[in-house]
C-alpha cells in the first residue's frame, strides 16, 4: 500500500503535479535560477481571441467599464484645485460566479475538459473556488474545492463560509480544513486519489485567462475616451490578477502604468490558529501580496505563471478601515454594493486621484460580489464579536487584529507607497537562497526580467547578498 504520510506525499509532489496539470515544467527549466517564462506562457498556443471565445462559452468576460463620477467628485472635494483624476471601475462582479476569477477558471476548466480529465480540484478559500465550481458545472465536470476555513475552536471565517455555500450551490464538494499550510498535503492526496485536474491559480491557463481583462480595459477605454488610460490599479494577493492584466494591456499596445494595492495585515501570521479569525480580509492582503511578489514560486505548481514584480510600477498599501470606508462610499454614492476585498484598488485610486490632474483617468480593474458573510457589515460585525475595536480615527494607527480604524474624513484615506527596490532585492535574495552559487549570465538576465530592473541594480543586489 502506498505511503500516505505527510512526508511521503510531499516527496511525491513533483510527479503528482506533472500528472495533474497536463504540463511538463521541466521543459522550460535551465537547470539553474532561470527558466523560460515566455515559452511556458505560450505552451498552450492560445491567442487572445481564442481565450475570449472560450470564456464567452462560459458567459465570462465582457463586463462593463463604469465611470464613478461621484467618487471622483469626492476625490476632487478632498484635493487641491485642478487635481482629482477621473475614476473608472471594471465591474467584474458581473461574471457568473461574481468575480474576475471566472476568467482564470474558464480556461483551466476548458483545458481539463479538453485533456480528458473527469474532474477538477482547487485549493482556495477565495472567489476562485466558486469560479471553478461554476465553470465545472457548465462543463459537466466533477469539482472539489479545498478551503482553509476554521480555527481549532471550530469558528469559520464568515467570508469563507459564504464562498463554501456558493461552491455548493454550483454542485461542488467543499472540503473544509482548520488553519495550516498542510492544506497543500491534503490537496496533493486528493489529486493523487482522483487523478483529476489541478485547477491551480498559478498555471499559464489561469494567467492567460486574466489577459482578457487587461485587453478589455484597453479596448473599452479607447472606445469611450479615444485614448489610453493613465493608470490601472489591481488588488494584489498571489500576483495573477496584476500579471494577467498587465500582459493583456501590453498585448493591445497599451503602455499604462500598472499599480498594485493590498490591505495591510502586517503582524498577523497567516498560519497562526489563534490569529486566523482576527483578520477581516481573507484575500487582497499583504499576507499574500508581499511574499508572492518577492517570491512567486511558493505556489502549488513548480513555476508560477503569476510573476507580478515583472509588471508592477508601484505598490500601495491600505488599511482595513480605509477599504471598508470606500466600500460603503461605493454603495452610497454610486449605488454599487460590492465585496470589500476587491475595493482595495478603489481605495488606492481614491487616494492617488487626488495627486493627479483632473483630465487624467484611473482604472480600478475589478469588483467582486458581496453577500451574507462577505459584506463589509458582516466583516465588521464578526470583528467586533472577536473583540476588535471599531472606531473613527487616523487609519495609520490601525493595528491589524487589534482595531479597525475608519477614516475620520475621506481625506484620511492615504495609500502608502511601498519601497519597490526593497521588494526587488527581496526577490533576488530569495532566488539566491533557492539556487545557491554564482548566478550565470542567463540568471542575471532572468533576474532583470523578474524584477523589472537593470543589470547594474541586479548585480549590486547580488553583491550585497554574497
Amino acid at each position: 500500500m502506498r505511503d500516505m504520510s505527510y512526508q511521503a506525499v510531499m516527496s511525491r509532489r513533483n510527479d503528482i503535479m506533472k500528472a495533474s496539470v497536463g504540463l511538463d515544467y521541466d521543459l522550460y527549466e535551465s537547470g539553474s535560477m532561470a527558466f523560460d517564462y515566455e515559452s511556458l506562457m505560450t505552451a498552450s498556443s492560445h491567442t487572445l481571441d481564442e481565450v475570449m471565445s472560450i470564456q464567452s462559452g462560459f458567459g465570462v468576460g465582457n463586463t462593463p467599464l463604469i465611470e464613478l463620477k461621484h467618487i471622483t467628485d469626492l476625490a476632487r472635494a478632498c484635493s487641491k484645485p485642478g487635481k482629482g483624476a477621473r475614476i473608472f471601475v471594471k465591474d467584474e462582479a458581473c461574471n457568473p460566479s461574481g468575480s474576475f476569477k471566472a476568467r482564470r477558471a474558464a480556461l483551466s476548466v476548458a483545458m481539463a475538459k479538453k485533456l480528458g480529465y473527469k474532474g477538477v480540484v482547487t485549493a482556495t478559500s477565495g472567489n476562485y473556488g466558486a469560479a471553478v465550481a461554476s465553470c465545472a458545472a457548465k462543463a459537466g465536470l466533477r469539482c472539489v474545492v479545498l478551503q482553509e476555513c476554521f480555527d481549532s475552536k471550530g469558528v469559520g471565517q464568515p467570508e469563507i463560509i459564504e464562498k463554501a455555500r456558493k461552491c455548493e450551490a454550483f454542485g461542488a464538494e467543499v472540503m473544509q480544513l482548520s488553519v495550516g499550510p498542510e492544506l497543500f498535503y491534503v490537496f496533493l492526496k486528493i489529486l493523487e486519489e482522483t487523478s483529476w485536474f489541478n485547477a491551480s491559480l498559478y498555471t499559464p491557463y489561469a494567467i492567460l485567462g486574466i489577459e482578457t481583462l487587461g485587453a478589455e480595459i484597453a479596448k473599452q477605454f479607447r472606445e469611450k475616451e479615444g485614448r489610453d488610460p493613465d493608470m490601472v490599479i489591481a488588488t494584489n494577493a498571489g500576483g495573477g490578477n496584476l500579471t494577467g492584466t498587465a500582459r493583456g494591456l501590453k498585448k493591445l499596445g497599451c503602455k499604462v502604468p500598472v499599480i498594485a494595492s493590498s490591505v495591510n495585515l502586517q503582524g498577523l501570521h497567516m498560519a497562526s490558529d489563534s490569529q486566523f479569525n482576527q483578520k477581516s480580509f481573507t484575500t487582497g492582503h499583504t499576507g499574500f501580496g508581499i511574499p508572492f511578489t518577492s517570491w512567486p514560486d511558493r505556489s502549488d505548481v513548480p513555476r508560477s505563471a503569476a510573476r507580478p514584480l515583472r509588471y508592477m510600477d508601484d505598490y500601495y498599501i491600505l488599511s482595513q478601515g480605509e477599504v471598508f470606508f470606500i466600500t460603503e462610499a461605493l454603495a452610497q454614492l454610486e449605488g454599487m454594493e460590492r465585496g470589500p476585498a476587491g475595493n482595495t484598488s478603489l481605495a488606492a485610486a481614491f487616494s492617488l486621484s487626488q495627486d493627479m490632474d483632473r483630465d487624467r483617468c484611473i482604472i480600478v480593474q475589478e469588483t467582486e460580489y458581496t453577500g451574507a458573510g462577505k459584506h463589509h457589515n458582516a466583516q465588521l460585525s464578526f470583528a467586533a464579536s472577536r473583540g476588535i475595536d471599531i472606531r473613527f480615527g487616523n487609519p495609520r494607527e490601525e493595528v491589524p487584529g487589534r482595531d479597525i480604524i475608519l477614516p475620520q474624513t475621506p481625506e484620511n484615506i492615504k495609500a502608502q507607497p511601498q519601497n519597490m527596490n526593497r521588494l526587488r532585492s527581496s526577490l533576488i535574495r530569495n532566488a539566491l537562497k533557492q539556487h545557491p552559487g554564482r548566478p550565470s549570465q542567463e540568471d542575471i538576465r532572468f533576474l532583470c526580467q523578474e524584477t523589472n530592473a537593470d543589470e547594474t541594480f541586479v548585480r549590486q543586489a547580488i553583491k550585497e547578498e554574497q
Binding site: D73, R142, C143, E173, V174, S178, G180, V186, D273, L380
Partner: protein, 100 residues
C-alpha cells in the same frame, strides 16, 4: 437518528499535533489539522459514529458523523453604528465642495 441517504457532515483529524509540518507557528502546532465535509450518508448511524459519505463530487470519504451543522447561518451581521455615519459625512463633504 440520521438514516442512510441523509445529507450530513462528517469530521476527522488529518494530522495530530505531533504530525504537523515543521514550519507551523507554535499555537498551530499545539492543535490537530481537522477536516469537515458534507455528503450523503451511506448507512444508518448515530452522531459520533465512524461512517462513510458520498460527497457532491461523488467521492466516498470516511469520518465521524457530526451533529447537525448543515444550516447556513452566516449573515450580514449585527448593526454597526459607525457604518451609518459614513454616508452623511460624504454628502456633507460633497455639498461643501459644491457650495465653495
Amino acid at each position: 437518528m440520521p438514516k442512510n441517504g441523509d445529507w450530513v457532515r462528517i469530521h476527522s483529524i488529518i494530522l495530530k499535533p505531533n504530525e504537523r509540518a515543521p514550519q507551523v507557528p507554535k499555537d498551530t502546532a499545539l492543535v490537530p489539522l481537522e477536516m469537515r465535509v458534507k455528503g450523503e450518508l451511506l448507512q444508518d448511524a448515530q452522531i459520533g459514529d465512524t461512517v462513510r459519505v458520498r460527497t457532491a463530487a461523488g467521492r466516498e470519504i470516511t469520518g465521524k458523523l457530526q451533529e447537525g451543522g448543515l444550516d447556513y447561518t452566516h449573515s450580514f451581521g449585527d448593526f454597526i453604528p459607525q457604518l451609518h455615519q459614513i454616508a452623511p459625512m460624504l454628502r456633507r463633504k460633497l455639498q461643501e465642495d459644491h457650495n465653495a
